[in-house]
Symmetry: C2
Subunit: 300 residues, 2 copies
Amino acid sequence: MAKRPYDLPPLSALASFEAAARHVSFKEASRELNVTPAAVSHQVKALEAELGQLLFHRKQRGVVLTEAGALLFVSLQRGFEEMADGVQRLKRAAHDAPVVIQATSAVSSLWLTSRLARFWKDHPDIQVTQHVMDKVEASDGVDLLINYGEMPANSQNCFPLFGDRIIALASPAVAEKYSVRNLEDFENVPLIHLNDNLLNWTSWQEWAERLGYQGSYRRGTFVDNYIVALHAAQDDIGFILGWEKLTRQLRKTGALVQVLEVSIEAPHIYYIETRNSSSEKVSKLRDWLLAEAKASPDFN
Amino acid sequence: MAKRPYDLPPLSALASFEAAARHVSFKEASRELNVTPAAVSHQVKALEAELGQLLFHRKQRGVVLTEAGALLFVSLQRGFEEMADGVQRLKRAAHDAPVVIQATSAVSSLWLTSRLARFWKDHPDIQVTQHVMDKVEASDGVDLLINYGEMPANSQNCFPLFGDRIIALASPAVAEKYSVRNLEDFENVPLIHLNDNLLNWTSWQEWAERLGYQGSYRRGTFVDNYIVALHAAQDDIGFILGWEKLTRQLRKTGALVQVLEVSIEAPHIYYIETRNSSSEKVSKLRDWLLAEAKASPDFN
DNA sequence: CACCATTGTTTAGTTTTTCTAATCTGATAT
DNA sequence: ATATCAGATTAGAAAAACTAAACAATGGTG
């Protein structure tokens, strides 16, 4: 097969030489490289040995480049410059690029959006883009991902955000009109069902079973999106299941009220996942959100 | 003071990444770099961590460059190419450049030249230039230097070549005409004296003193150059001092004959000194000459 | 003129980096 | 299904790089 396309001496030696040549001083070079002059001396000596020619004339006081050294120096400078340019561009691009966080429309509107607004006040330099998508898979270019489901074990990219309880809700008008007293009553009232194609939503059926009731809840309307379902509930369409914490604000404002004093622990938890990038900014946002979830467990 | 002008990640990581990107394969890269795939994996991972962004998409089978990776790759390639160019030029220049060996005209004509001709037969790829100069100081650009004098102690650039004895010589005609029987006889015959401005030549006076004779040798002619002196001797101008070994050939052909069966050990030795370059070619010639001096101590 | 401050070198030993061996993972091809 | 392939991961080994200290050579200073 092809031999090494660049038959270069050790790069560390080249870097030491370049610095020494630029400063015309081993001492200065060593300061720049955060090493002792001895280290630079070693590297340059090794390079000279490898190339089989002197790169510096050792003068009484300091060093002077030989002709060969000068020749090498300009090439190295150009080379390093080129590389540094590329790295610089990369860093700048990373700096300018926003952090992309993906969440379902429900999480986004009920929890994430208001917090991102606050995050931006703390970190005006970090641009954040929300990617609202009611699917489990992450699209390309997503840095963070808030999932509801079973958190993969021993993945250091996933961190639990919060768990929740599931309760029954309705608009005050609906609640008053049907006055549900027990689980059986739900069989004869309009329920809002979610078509759970991809997410792990808990259905009315599952919810009741968890609470020990075996009846069948068939009445009501089906919608595809939890936010739509919430709006439907507020429009007096019927009863809806909801997360206790996530709907706290809606209950506080009286838009919805809890029906029956029963609840189940949500079968899954919300967790945050790091994807693609391990950049500073991403970690910052992730840690901020984790702290946020921890700091206000009751969503005050 | 100024920060590092090139704020580059570890160069070894860049080199590993470049190879991996070029092959689009950690495995191939590892073969090129003579390391295991694990090593490449480590380096790339470290680089990604440092830059805070993924450089490869890890696919089910192998890897693919990310956009960022591709961007970095072209810069690195250009950079390495630039550097390799410089190194290449340097090596080529060193390869093409002849080895320069400096010697006095005497050593050159009596010992070195014929040997260099033989060296060239053994090593036709190594070009050798003679720099004949009857001074002690080496001029710039000289790689090897044959000196006569006191060899500096503990210098690993100097190697003893040979010592010699000093005898009195003359052309057969002169020898017969004056028939010198003892040291005193030299006082009344034409002597050839060397103006020793710089070299450590032994004068007739010193020679005789070493042999225990206190007379004064004033008669004769003065010349500046030993080769001229030798020619003068062959032209029957007078008696001359010479090295036993170096003049062997002249005596063999009958051009000169030894006068009086006395001789002194030369006060100094011939030694060879390495200057400037420590290139392969220089070492080769030096070692060859040392072996030559050792192999034929009698100058057969 | 002695003496100190500079700059680079050298040696030997330590620290850091880099690499390997072995084991895993996850997915494709047979 | 099973083998295979490319890469990841881990802990520990090997190699490279570095440092400390003593040295050498020189130039400036009191």
